[in-house]
Amino acid sequence: MKRLLVNTKILMRRLAQAVGFVVGLSLVSVAQSSPQVHLNAEGLAPRPIEELTGTTIVHHYAQAWSDMAAALESSRPGTISDEFVGQAKDRLKQRIAEQAKAGVHVHIIDHGHQLKALFYSTDGAAMQLIDQAQLEIQTFDGSKLLHTDNSLHKYMVLMTPGADRWYVRDLQEISEKDF
């Protein structure tokens, strides 16, 4: 009986590992124009993530970064996509308007994002994630290169669901000490 229990525990553990592996593998954005995003939702509380939700989050988060990079490069507010809402959208719009006024723009070379889900509310209304992004950010004044930063950036992300997608509601860069 004890042996059966041990075998069952091992089987369950292997099954859990297999599921985690499958989820880890499948939740990677594949669109060529979007940066690569990998989501780790292991141990998420108080509610686990459904695979479809994970896939949707990865897709729209990647799209949000792609659109944000395009908007920051062109400094045209019209290019801000629907992937952003609320505070994240307001701040991005303001930043782009200020960029246009100052004649400054940035070019982002996105080397990919490691997303870790931290909190998913029971009612499914909000998900908090942390993103470790390897970014090369070039800042220009007109055509003059002012500064290049190639480093790991960390962001605290708040996403909320809409009718057909998950929106980026808050995107706050944080330091290593904050996490």
Binding site: E98, F119, S121, Q128, H153, M156, E173
Partner: protein, 287 residues
Amino acid sequence: MKGFNGLLTCASLCLFATFAAAAEVDVPATVQAGQAFSIHLEGSGSATFYLLGPNVILKRSVSLGSDFEVGSADVQAAGRYEAIVCDGSCSSAAFEVKAADPARLSFFLHPSRVPVASRDAIDAFAFVFDRYANLVLTPSVVDFQIKPVSGNAVSRQSPTHHGVAWMRMDSSAHEGRVQVTAVLGKVEEARVIQQVAAEPCALRMKAAESGNKVVLETEPVRDCGGNPLPDGTVVSFTKTDRSGRSTVDTPIKTGIARTEFRVDGPAKISVACGVALGNELDLKGRL
């Protein structure tokens, strides 16, 4: 030798001149959101200063060797800022703006209606923001104060992790309004949920015969804790007699469900509400 010394002096002076002109930017490691501060610009001569933040871009002509005053409005958004100063070549330094003190709770209580005496049925979570809508990542403790319409108020404390605090609790045994208030320092945010009766318990009906009709009426429909089920809850009466089987669904009104049947010969009548089955009446063809 004299010529060499002159060359050395000239080289030193030239080097000094180069260092003196080189612009450097001296920033604090962290700044609190909404707090004005100054950035010292080392060097001499004139230069262009840039400040890039999540929602701000400043571009100013500056004199090196002076302080650049950053206004409180320019650093309201938490995040990473880059200060760049250019006088031919550019140098830069990054600093972090951290959220100010907690000033607002974004509080969610779920669900809005919950059956009484249910385990882990109520979820509460609160995001902590400062006055500039930055998520406050500094750990703090949110006090969830739970006040049922009857019974004692209780309090549950939950620490924030990355700016969010959450807790899960059982619903209490009595129906009615429950107010949950999330409190952090002087910041409060209240939400209300309605606890409703659970599944009915000991459902019973009685019959009053009148001609070839029978009038059926339940006793007050309550759950096992004695809480009355809300009006509108559907009760089903089913009659089986010589004419066949028929069911009437009727809502509870003022705690009681009523209906009437025409019966043909011996009849059996049962009553049900949700998952609860009530008593069965056997009318034995008296009508």
